[in-house]
Structures are given as structure tokens and as C-alpha cells.
């Protein structure tokens, strides 16, 4: 197990270096950048240009710049943004990263959980009306043109619903309402980080409680402990912030996450539901399902203990494929909802020709994708004993 993970991490590190190299030379190869505005400007005297070029390191050959860049990158120096000079890129990324992570993690977890549970039940109700209706709806959501769907959600839930009920149910964009934060003793990032920490810790506590219960208790009480622990894990952050002075500010941020998370998870949910359904139907034809029936197990036990776990394997594989969506979908989602995360940062870096920031954003997306692969590998190894210890 440890050996496998070490090997995977080493492979990924190598892949990451290749990725950085490709990104560096691709951006190097494209014509024009922000410095051209100064160096190409006829108003600036040649001596001044030389000083500028030297300061920006542009007088050195490409190879030397590449080595310097890689050296700096792996010592944690990502350079300074050219468009928001002289803010360090690392600071900007650290500010945007949690917002993106929260958006995608919550949407992914929600979509996978709900999609898997619904798909499982759907396969069991083969031929019933609910199966047809949900499958049809799922195919619709799965194939929808995503930016259009996001706009439709804003129109429906942001504008139409507000007109209809008379007050604003969902904010339509942005991360906070600035006017509500005037005179706030907390910064938005501070509140947001606190929210993430509390939520993560309470979910971790729930997971640990569940694991202990699995070891110590019989199946039925262990399941009860699990349900209770996760309910408490979800409710605790709400209680915590209801009693904290950060309450109005935390509520504002939470309010703003609702619509983008809902939109993203709906689309991902449809795909997972369809995949789980297909995978379940395939698994139900396997011989060991017949064995389970012959043993006299109840339908629910057969479904949850025998079929579902096997049907989960292709769904986990799809998690890896879904990571590609994080890059494309991230930019689209964050643009449509004006969500100040990595995607929006990358978009502005590219349009403003801010190369250090663009490389920073791309590399952090690469790290996320590689990390996601590793997580999927580990989950897969846990779920399927046939690929363990290899």
C-alpha cells in the first residue's frame, strides 16, 4: 500500500515537471506579453528598455530563464503578478483556491452521493415509471449545453423566483454582497477560511466516529451511529456559526454558494446517476447476485451489500474523468456566477497577458487534477481487492 502510493506520487511529480515545462514553453512561444507594452513603446528610451529587460530577466536566454523559473517555482516563489503588480502570485492563488475548492468539492460530493443513491434505486426499479422519468431527465441534464444551463438557472432561480415570491431567494452572482460587509470587523477571507475549517473538522470527526463504530459494533448499530454522526457533522457548522459573531457574514457567503453549487451538482449528478444505473444493471446480471438470492438474502441486502459495491467501481473511474471538467467547467461556472476562484483568475490572467499568474493558475489546476487521480486510485484500491498490492 505505502509502496504503491509512493510510486504513484513519484510518477505524478515527474508528470507535473513535464507539465510545467510544456506550459512554460507554450507561453514563451506565444507572441507578445505585458512587457512588450513597455519594451515596444517608442516613447521609452533604449537605455530604459535595457534596464527594464534586465529587471524582468528578458535579457537572458530562454534556457537560463527556464532553469531560473523552475528553481523559483519549487522553492515556492511563483513570481509577481504583472497585472496587479507587485502582488505575489502565491498570495493571489491562496486567496482564490479555497473558493474554488469549496465550490467543486461540495458539488462533487453532493453529486456523487445523490447520483449513486438514485442510480442504485433506479436500476432496481427497472421498467417502472420513475425509472423512465428520471432517466429521461438525467439524459437531458447530462447533454445540456452547460453555460446555457447555468444562465438558465440564474434566470429561473435568480430572477423569476425573486419576482414570484417577492424577495431574493438566491443571490445571482459574486461571492459576497459588498454593502453588507461595510464596517465588518472580519475580512471575507477570514470568515470563509473559518467556515471551511469548521466544516472540514466536523466532517472529519463524523468520519472517525463512523470508523470506530465499524470496528467496535455490529452492523446495524454501526449504521445508526454513522447516520447520526454524519447528521451531526452536517448540522454542527450551522450551530457553530449561529452562535458566533461571524453569523451575518458567514450566512452571506453560504447564501452565495447555493446557486453555483446547485447548478454544478445538478449537471454532475445526472451523469453519475446514469452511470450508476447502467453499472448496476450490468452487475445485477452477474452470477454472484444469483448466489446472493439463493442464499435467501433480502433484496435490500443484495442491492446494497453485493451489487452496489461492485457497481461503484466504474463510477469511481468516472471521478478521474470528471476532473477534466474541473478545468473547463471551472472557468465557465466561475465566469457565469462571477465567482472569484481560480478559474476566473486564470481567465483574467490570460486576457491581461499576465504570464506568471497564468502559469501559477494552470499549475495549481494541474496539482488538483493529479491529486484527484491519486485519491481515485486509493479509493479504487480500497474498493477492489483484485488490484491491491500491485
Amino acid at each position: 500500500m505505502a509502496k504503491f502510493i509512493t510510486k504513484r506520487v513519484a510518477q505524478m511529480l515527474l508528470l507535473f515537471i513535464v507539465f510545467l515545462t510544456v506550459v512554460f514553453f507554450l507561453l514563451e512561444a506565444q507572441p507578445g506579453d505585458l512587457t512588450q507594452q513597455y519594451i515596444g513603446n517608442p516613447e521609452i528610451p533604449p537605455e530604459q528598455k535595457a534596464v527594464l529587460a534586465e529587471r524582468l530577466g528578458l535579457d537572458k536566454p530562454v534556457g537560463a530563464r527556464y532553469l531560473a523559473y523552475m528553481g523559483n517555482f519549487f522553492t515556492g516563489n511563483f513570481g509577481n503578478s504583472l497585472s496587479q503588480w507587485p502582488r505575489p502570485v502565491s498570495e493571489m492563488i491562496l486567496e482564490a483556491l479555497p473558493r474554488t475548492l469549496v465550490l467543486f468539492l461540495s458539488a462533487t460530493l453532493l453529486a456523487y452521493y445523490l447520483g449513486f443513491v438514485t442510480g442504485k434505486v433506479l436500476a432496481w426499479r427497472r421498467g417502472k415509471f420513475t425509472e423512465y422519468a428520471l432517466t429521461l431527465g438525467g439524459v437531458g441534464l447530462y447533454t445540456v449545453f452547460y453555460p446555457w444551463f447555468a444562465l438558465l438557472m440564474i434566470w429561473g432561480f435568480g430572477f423569476m423566483l425573486t419576482d414570484w415570491v417577492g424577495f431574493r431567494v438566491f443571490p445571482i452572482n459574486k461571492f459576497i454582497d459588498v454593502q453588507d460587509w461595510v464596517g465588518s470587523p472580519f475580512s471575507a477571507n477570514h470568515v470563509f477560511l473559518r467556515m471551511i475549517t469548521v466544516a472540514a473538522l466536523s466532517m472529519l470527526a463524523a468520519a472517525i466516529t463512523t470508523m470506530i463504530a465499524r470496528r467496535r459494533l455490529e452492523l446495524a448499530p454501526a449504521l445508526r451511529v454513522r447516520n447520526f454522526a454524519f447528521l451531526a457533522g452536517v448540522l454542527y457548522p450551522f450551530v457553530y456559526f449561529a452562535m458566533s459573531p461571524m453569523r451575518p457574514y458567514a450566512a452571506d457567503i453560504f447564501h452565495h454558494t447555493l446557486l453555483p453549487v446547485m447548478t454544478l451538482s445538478l449537471v454532475a449528478f445526472a451523469g453519475i446517476m446514469l452511470l450508476t444505473r447502467a453499472s448496476m444493471l450490468e452487475t445485477l446480471r452477474e452470477d454472484f447476485i444469483l448466489t446472493a438470492r439463493a442464499k435467501g438474502l433480502s433484496e435490500k441486502v443484495i442491492r446494497d451489500r453485493h451489487a452496489a459495491r461492485n457497481a461503484l467501481l466504474p463510477v469511481v473511474t468516472s471521478l478521474v474523468l470528471a476532473l477534466a471538467f474541473v478545468i473547463g467547467g471551472g472557468i465557465i461556472t466561475e465566469t457565469v456566477f462571477s465567482w472569484p476562484g481560480i478559474g476566473l483568475l486564470l481567465l483574467s490572467a490570460v486576457t491581461l497577458e499576465d504570464i506568471p499568474l497564468a502559469i501559477g493558475c494552470l499549475s495549481i489546476i494541474a496539482v488538483l487534477a493529479l491529486f484527484g487521480h491519486l485519491v481515485a486510485d486509493i479509493i479504487y484500491m480500497y474498493l477492489d481487492p483484485r488490484i491491491r498490492y500491485q
Binding site: D287, L290, T291, A294, K295, G296, R305, D384
Partner: protein, 347 residues
């Protein structure tokens, strides 16, 4: 002794009261687009405690349909039209699913074909056996008792008890089959259905497993229904044999008697289509043609299109099951002509 009327106008037969399992006039059809597939027609047989019965026939003749019906594990499109399956006198067909579940594995367990995919690949073998034990053995054994039981079973079938903590993919083919037998024995069933128990295995392992099944049956005394297209396997391990053709039992009787004296042309041809290593050299009698399409079975005797003795009567009228010697019954109008097949160059 009581007598019950047999289907298709056959003379009444004796029914022994002590029978463990009685299948009576079982008729089952699969509903498909374009009609009903008559997979099992008027099948009757009885199984006594400790007895072994073999069901033989070509693929698609209804062997597995009968076996699955005994556990009520028939496919979703299967419909029982007639008949009863009585286990210790209780008819299983009208039971609810929940009631039926208490009989599965507890009273009738199954050794599956191939055993390759009969195990859930992501669960330890021990956990899968434990599941059956915890479900059916009352009062529920403690973890240590259940473990002891599983270890004893693995010792009985000749697999290292340490393998209980392994996953199915770590077992060889023969070990998987032995472990399946151990699982089938785990709740002390009265009947085990062995559906092609050795088909996917090489001959040496086949032999070991059959010998083991025989030994275990002697020790524990349960009844076994063997299902196979391999007559050699059936001959070796059963006392009674039922030859199935196109969803019907066409010949049933003591194994030795049926082998020595087959009285149904199909039974005869089936027996003589395989060479015997130890017996006298003889010409093989190949069985020509294919089993009929049961969506639209032949009229009269279902075997008539392939039968060398078929007459006008066979095409029109279905033959009754008639007893030709004690315990040996045949569904054929011309059973008395069958011994002549040997002289007529069919063999």
C-alpha cells in the same frame, strides 16, 4: 400409500409419503415477445432423504429451469402454470417472497455452475459464507462459533481454513468449487442442487470433487440433485436419473437400470453418443438435429422430429408416462422397440 392422478392420462403412480421433495406436474413458461416458451412441462419426480437424482439432457432442455424453480429463483418472465413443489409436504409455489427466503439455503442450497463468478469478487470468502450462517442458523451463533463452523467446513472439503480470509480471486478454480460446496453445506441443508458442479474444471479435479461430494453425502446424509449434460458424471454419483427433453422428463428410473436398459429413443441415443473407455467397442450413435424451439414445440411427442421410430401417432398424440419395469418409466409409444436399436445399426 396414496395415489395421485398423473398428467396426460398416465396411469396413477405411487407416491411415497416419506419423500422429502415432490415435484408434481410442474409446468412453467417464459413469457417472451411473440408468445410463451414452454420451458418445463408436466415435470414430476420425488426425492427422498439422502438420495441422489441426476437430471440430464442437452442444453436448453429445461434442467436449469427446473432447478431454479425449486428455489423459486426463476427469471422474471417465468410463469408457473400448473403443479406443485412440495418440500416436506409444504407447497413452495404459493409462498410469499419473505417466506421463500427462509427456505433458501436453509433447506435447499445450491452449488453453482463453474463457480467462477459465483463469488462476489470484492468480499472475503469467509464473509460471504458467514452471511448465510448468520441469516439462517437460529439462534444466531457467536462470531467464534461461526468461525469454528466455517473452519470445519473448509477442512471437510479440503481447503486450508486460512483461505477464509482471502478474496475469491486468490483461489484456484478447484478451490473455488470446493469453497462453494462448503458454503452450500454451511446451513445443514436437506437438499443440495449441484448445477454442472464440475463443468469448468479439469478431469482430475472433477474426479476429486465428485468423490468428495459422495463422501460428504454419506457422512451428512443430505439429498443431492445433480444437473449435468455429462452422463459420465451423473452415472458415477446418482441412484436415480431423469432424462429431460424439450422441457419434459421423458425417462426416469434407477441409474443402473436406465443405463443398462434405456427405453426412450432419446435416452438411448444420449447414452450412446459418448464413447465408453472401459466397455465393449461399439459404433457411436450420433444424435441428429437440434432440440426444438420451445416457443412452438412439436405436436404430439416432442421428440418425434428426431426419432427413428416416429409414426403418425407420435405426431398427433403425446405419449403417457408408463412404467416399463419397477421404478423405470418412459414417455414413448414405442419403448418396446428401443432395444432393437442396437441391432439396427444405430449403435
Amino acid at each position: 400409500m396414496q395415489t395421485i392422478p398423473s398428467p396426460a392420462g398416465a396411469p396413477p403412480r405411487d407416491r411415497t409419503d416419506a419423500a422429502l421433495l415432490e415435484v408434481d406436474n410442474l409446468t412453467m413458461e417464459y413469457e417472451v415477445d411473440g408468445g410463451n416458451v414452454s420451458a418445463v412441462s408436466n415435470v414430476s419426480f420425488a426425492l427422498h432423504a439422502g438420495e441422489s437424482l441426476g437430471l440430464v439432457g442437452e442444453s436448453g432442455c429445461g434442467k436449469t429451469s427446473v432447478a431454479m424453480s425449486l428455489l423459486r429463483l426463476q427469471a422474471d418472465n417465468a410463469r408457473f402454470r400448473e403443479g406443485e413443489i412440495r418440500l416436506n409436504g409444504e407447497d413452495l409455489l404459493p409462498l410469499s417472497e419473505a417466506e421463500m427466503r427462509t427456505h433458501r439455503w436453509k433447506d435447499i442450497s445450491m452449488v453453482f455452475q463453474g463457480a467462477m463468478n459465483a463469488w462476489n469478487p470484492v468480499q472475503r470468502v469467509g464473509a460471504q459464507i458467514l452471511e448465510a450462517i448468520n441469516l439462517h442458523i437460529k439462534p444466531r451463533p457467536t462470531a467464534a462459533e461461526a468461525r469454528k463452523r466455517m473452519e470445519d467446513l473448509f477442512n471437510l472439503v479440503g481447503v486450508d481454513p486460512k483461505m477464509l480470509d482471502r478474496y475469491p480471486h486468490e483461489f484456484s478454480g478447484g478451490m473455488r468449487q470446493r469453497a462453494i460446496i462448503a458454503m452450500a453445506l454451511s446451513c445443514d441443508p436437506q437438499i443440495i442442487i449441484a448445477d454442472e458442479p464440475t463443468t469448468a474444471l479439469d478431469v482430475i479435479v472433477q474426479d476429486q470433487i465428485l468423490a468428495q461430494l459422495l463422501r460428504i453425502q454419506k457422512e451428512l446424509g443430505m439429498a443431492i440433485i445433480y444437473i449435468s449434460h455429462d452422463i459420465a458424471v451423473i452415472a458415477e454419483v446418482t441412484q436415480k436419473i431423469a432424462v429431460m427433453y424439450a422441457g419434459r422428463i421423458v425417462e426416469i428410473g434407477p441409474t443402473e437400470e436406465v443405463f443398462a436398459n434405456p427405453r426412450h429413443p432419446y435416452g438411448y441415443l444420449l447414452l450412446h453418443s459418448a464413447p465408453s473407455i472401459t466397455g465393449p467397442r461399439r459404433r457411436l450413435a450420433p444424435l441428429k438435429g437440434e432440440p426444438p424451439n420451445l416457443l412452438n414445440p412439436p405436436t404430439g411427442c416432442r421428440f418425434h422430429p428426431r426419432c427413428p421410430f416416429a409414426t403418425e401417432k407420435c405426431v398427433v398424440e403425446s405419449p403417457p408416462l408408463q412404467e416399463v419395469s419397477p421404478g423405470h418409466s418412459v414417455e414413448c409409444w414405442h419403448w418396446d422397440k428401443v432395444p432393437s436399436m442396437a441391432e439396427e445399426g444405430h449403435a
